[in-house]
């Protein structure tokens, strides 16, 4: 199946460097642990054996921002947590992506008040928003695959311009 059939016995494949790099990025994406509230439970479930996110190349949640390239903000971000979140985001090496998981991280959810950021996009730039309160693991996996689609379409010149 797949690449073996197409290649036959040649053992050589021609493609662009961009494709190879983007493909490898999607298959070794290490998300950073950022469970802030109940969404974190669904994030754990997405990693655990029933849903098994490692099928998509996400074996590891990293506790250190310096080793990760995807930040899953799982939960509401309070005004005091905002600067911490931004600092961790700044410590992640480029290129990096952010998923706002759940309603609270996306738009404040039910917490339209003085203590909570009305969407984590006020603190860090967000690539994908996952709706739900909390989203089911399937929804999170769909969000991650949506990030993959975005990564596969990235161009070197855009990354270099950053």
């Amino acid at each position: 199946m797949g690449v073996e059939q197409k290649l036959g016995n040649m053992g050589v494949v021609t493609t662009t460097l961009e494709n190879v790099v983007n493909w490898s990025r999607t298959n070794a994406m290490w998300p950073m642990l950022f469970g802030l509230a109940c969404c974190a439970i669904e994030m754990m479930a997405a990693q655990a054996s029933d849903y098994d996110m490692s099928r998509f190349g996400m074996e590891l949640m990293r506790a250190s921002p310096r080793q990760s390239d995807l930040m899953i903000v799982a939960g509401r971000v309070s005004k005091k947590m905002g600067p911490v979140l931004r600092r961790l985001y700044d410590q992640m090496p480029e290129p990096k992506w952010v998923i706002a998981m759940g309603d609270c991280a996306s738009c404040g959810g039910v917490f339209n008040n003085y203590a909570i950021y009305q969407g984590v996009d006020e603190v860090v730039p967000v690539d994908v928003y996952v709706a739900g309160c909390p989203p089911r693991p399937e929804a999170l996996i769909h969000g991650v695959l949506t990030v993959y689609e975005k990564v596969k379409g990235e161009k070197f010149k855009d990354l270099a311009a950053k």
Binding site: K79, K80, G108, N112, N113, Y114, A115, Q118, D121, E122
Partner: protein, 170 residues
């Protein structure tokens, strides 16, 4: 009123001319702001109310006299009694003497009341905010503090509101 509480109430009434209200067997004593330290000292040392079990405030906006009530809920573990002392304060930036000298646990409670209601405590050893960030403007539990800052977007005003949403710049 619990009959064991009656002598306590009488002492405070005689000494400070305190008002007294009762609601479902809960006794509220009203004293003046300048009397509160003396009243709590007396209750602690002579009446056995060794525990400040709750310390909070209420905002009666738009009423200005009084605007706030400070509420000191005292418990006596020895006598198995509970009494509430209230201080009514006027105006939107009131100052009240601190009671940290009487009950050490009042320290963080007073910081919280200052943070949430903007009542200043004169002589407080550490008068900083405790819950909100240092640079926060306003006092969130006041009735005139706005409830939320997010404007709901509908199809007809989506773009207009989107323009002034505080998105981060990379």
């Amino acid at each position: 009123m619990n009959k064991n509480l009656e002598p306590v109430v009488k002492t405070i009434q005689d000494k400070f001319g305190a008002g007294c209200e009762e609601f479902r067997d809960e006794v509220h004593l009203f004293v003046k702001p300048e009397q509160i330290v003396e009243a709590l000292t007396l209750l602690r040392d002579e009446q056995g109310f060794e525990l400040l079990s709750a310390y909070t405030a209420v905002d009666y906006y738009p009423s200005e006299t009084p605007r706030f009530h400070l509420i000191y809920q005292l418990t006596s573990l020895v006598k198995n009694l509970s009494v509430q002392v209230r201080v009514a304060v006027n105006g939107s930036s009131p100052k009240v003497p601190t009671v940290t000298g009487v009950y050490a646990s009042a320290n963080w409670r007073e910081r919280e009341i200052f943070d949430m209601f903007g009542i200043e405590f004169e002589g407080h050893p550490d008068p900083r905010r405790i819950l909100m960030p240092e640079d926060h403007v306003g006092h969130p539990l006041r009735k005139d503090f706005p409830l939320g800052y997010e404007e709901p977007q509908f199809t007809f005003n989506f773009d207009e509101i989107d323009l002034r949403k505080p998105y981060v710049k990379e």
